[in-house]
């Protein structure tokens, strides 16, 4: 078993936390910041969709799906780097 030293463990958790905060910031952006400007974004219309409406109905949802898969793959890379990925 790959036993991490306390220093490695802290480094691992630091990287993991940084990824967590990155994704949380993007999550806040798509969940709250974009909807907050829905009125202004609605002025822009693309293919019939007012942009503010589109983001809450589809755009942010697509971002959530991407964020979840991205988190999985980025965290896997961190795990591999520290040799704590599962077989």
């Amino acid at each position: 078993m790959a036993q991490l030293t306390p220093a490695q463990r802290d480094a691992y958790w630091k990287k993991t936390s940084r990824l967590m905060w990155t994704i949380m910031i993007l999550w806040v952006f798509f969940s709250f910041v974009i909807p907050a400007f829905a009125v202004q974004l609605n002025e822009i219309v693309i293919a019939g969709f007012p942009l503010g409406f589109y983001m809450a109905a589809q755009g942010s949802l697509i971002a959530f799906v991407v964020l979840c898969f991205w988190n999985a793959s980025a965290q896997n890379k961190i795990d591999q780097e520290f040799g704590v990925d599962e077989d």
Partner: protein, 595 residues
């Protein structure tokens, strides 16, 4: 059947591919039968009984006498299929039948549900699921009991779980009763018990294993049922079989008709009141609702426990991605449903002669209470204010709006039933497992044999199901309201102790327990006070989002009390460290029993 065999897991794609093909074939056969003159009632029966029969068959095949199979499906569920199962677990009768109607009525305001019921998975995947999977026990209260060293935290967890999940399961059973009674033409009270049998055959013999494999089957049916009528209508209207792209044009047409008809509140208008003016109250309630639903998603035990079933931590993360993808497929379609229905109403219903309304309006206005037409000024023409529509009708009537045969209506009913059954099963298992594992085994009788534990688990399962059905049978008022409560209660009571237990080692047992009590207490106080005792709203926030007050308090109290109490032991901190890393054994604290 003993442990899940490897060949079964390897062949899942083929098995469920064949199943989906078989289901489509079955729909085609019924369509031919309809053309040959088989009455609608028989077609409705075929859909209800054949689909329940399939679920029962899977449930019986998956029976088990092993604890890890019963509680966590043997931890062999691949991420892709766990994603489908979570999708079915997640999407309830409310998502399937009512949400599109809510969007029809509320326009942009309704998108709070679309956002709120998807974005929470980001929190699940980043903050909780992989660590709970590494923890590797059977239930969510298990984690609280171990991390916060004792049965006080465990019991608090069970209480929150019970309050949140039970209100939710009553609503699901209610939905099952409505759908079954409508399509079988039997009284509601009888239909509830038909539904109860449908719930129990899926879960009783095989626990989580049976529920997992039926939920995958139910997801396939519900997504086919949801997409079919809309894809057809989109192709018919715009020559584009992807309704999610085509409805941009619909929105434009709606905007033009709104001007013509003098609608004051535009469909796409954000944060507007009834007169179409910007409103801070609407703005605040929108983000409060989004936050509550998202945090609630990440706190509901029947969802979290789905990630206990994957083979490892890596798969738990990936499985969250698949879950939100499968949920997304339905949620990004719902606004298209609303738009198509609204266009149909504005174009072909409002302003028309009441004597010559489209057939679907005439049909549904004869079914009690769903669609009301009242010619207030007796001019024979239908005005906007004379047309009152129930939100459930949007999805149910879509096959008729699209001009599809009755068989598609049966398909939609089967989809709604699948959505309600799968959610009810997940909830039922979450409650019964918490009672049998956390209360009975961990607290009452820790020496119980496997046989006895499984027997107790099943007896409790049946009991909870019967009580749930009995409560639903009384048609409790405000059922939709109660579902929303589940999210607030779970968010305020469970999110802080779960997240802080993993991400902040300094969290102490006293801090977590105090946080849970205060968070849950404040939330429940606001819910009950505003709903039953005419308490004024705080800052105009509707009680559907009442976690907004309990949630930050839960974090704050947990933090403050933790700092005031002695830091967790070195062993406990090592244990938390071992949860954070995917590989390696857990560093159990001495004296903790675990599976």
């Amino acid at each position: 059947m003993a442990a899940t065999s490897k060949s079964f897991i390897d062949n899942l794609g083929k098995i469920y591919g064949g199943y989906a093909g078989g289901f489509i074939f079955f729909v085609i056969v019924l369509a031919i039968m309809e053309q040959m003159g088989v009455p609608n009632k028989i077609i409705g029966y075929c859909f209800v009984f054949l689909t329940i029969g399939v679920y029962a068959y899977i449930g019986i095949l998956s029976r088990t006498m092993e604890l890890s199979e019963y509680y966590v499906a043997g931890r062999v569920v691949p991420p892709f299929f766990n994603g489908m199962a979570t999708g079915a677990d997640w999407m309830s009768a409310a998502s399937f039948i009512s949400m599109a109607g809510g969007l029809y009525l509320a326009g942009y305001g309704g998108l709070g549900y679309v956002l709120g019921w998807t974005g929470g998975y980001v929190l699940v995947g980043v903050l909780l699921a992989p660590y709970l999977r590494k923890f590797g026990q059977f239930t969510v209260p298990d984690f609280l009991g171990v991390r916060y060293e004792g049965n006080t935290a465990r019991v608090c967890g069970v209480i929150v779980l019970f309050c949140a999940s039970f209100t939710y399961i009553v609503a699901q059973t209610f939905g099952i009763g409505i759908i079954t009674s409508r399509f079988l033409g039997i009284p509601f009270e009888v239909a509830i018990f038909v539904g109860l049998v449908g719930i129990l055959v899926c879960s009783m013999l095989g626990g989580m294993r049976a529920v997992t494999w039926t939920q995958v089957a139910q997801y396939i049916i519900l997504i086919i049922a949801y997409l079919t009528p809309l894809v057809w209508l989109s192709f018919k209207l715009y020559g584009n079989p992807i309704p999610e792209l085509a409805y941009g044009q619909t929105l434009t047409e709606i905007a033009q008709l709104e001007q013509k008809l003098g609608v004051t509140k535009p469909h796409v208008g954000a944060y507007v009141d009834a007169k179409g003016a910007f409103s801070w109250v609407e703005f605040n309630n929108f983000w409060a609702l989004v936050l509550t639903l998202m945090i609630g998603t990440a706190s509901l035990p029947h969802i979290l426990m789905r990630y206990f079933t994957t083979p490892n931590v890596r798969d738990a993360r990936k499985s969250v991605g698949w879950s939100i993808f499968f949920i997304f497929l339905l949620y990004f379609t719902a606004p298209a449903y609303a738009a198509f229905a609204k266009l149909e109403v504005y174009k072909n219903v409002i302003g028309q002669q009441i004597a010559s309304l489209p057939a679907w309006v005439q049909n549904w206005s004869q079914v009690g209470g769903l669609l009301t037409i009242k010619d207030g000024n007796n001019d024979g023409i239908l005005q906007l204010g004379e047309f009152i529509i129930n939100q459930d009708i949007i999805v149910l009537s879509m096959p008729e709006i699209a001009g599809l045969p009755y068989v598609i209506s049966g398909l939609v009913a089967a989809g709604g039933l699948a959505a309600a059954l799968s959610t009810a099963d997940g909830l039922l298992l979450a409650i019964a497992n918490a009672l049998s594992h956390d209360i009975y085994y961990k607290m009452v009788n820790p020496k119980a044999s496997t046989m006895k534990r499984l027997t107790v688990a099943r007896v409790l399962l049946v009991l909870v199901a019967i009580v749930g059905a009995a409560v639903a049978g009384t048609r409790p008022a405000g059922i939709i309201q109660m579902v929303a409560w589940a999210f607030s209660l779970a968010a305020a009571g469970l999110f802080a102790p779960l997240v802080m237990g993993i991400w902040w080692k300094r969290t102490t047992a006293a801090g977590a327990i105090a946080g849970m009590i205060v968070g849950f207490g404040v939330c429940a106080f606001y819910l009950v006070g505003t709903r039953y005792f005419d308490m004024p709203l705080w800052f105009g926030i509707r009680n559907i989002s009442s976690a907004l007050f309990g949630l930050p308090l839960a974090f704050l109290v947990t933090w403050a009390v933790s700092l005031m109490t002695q830091a967790p032991s070195k062993e406990m901190q090592d244990f938390v460290d071992s949860i954070r890393v995917p590989k390696g054994e857990l560093a159990w604290v001495k004296g903790v029993t675990h599976e």
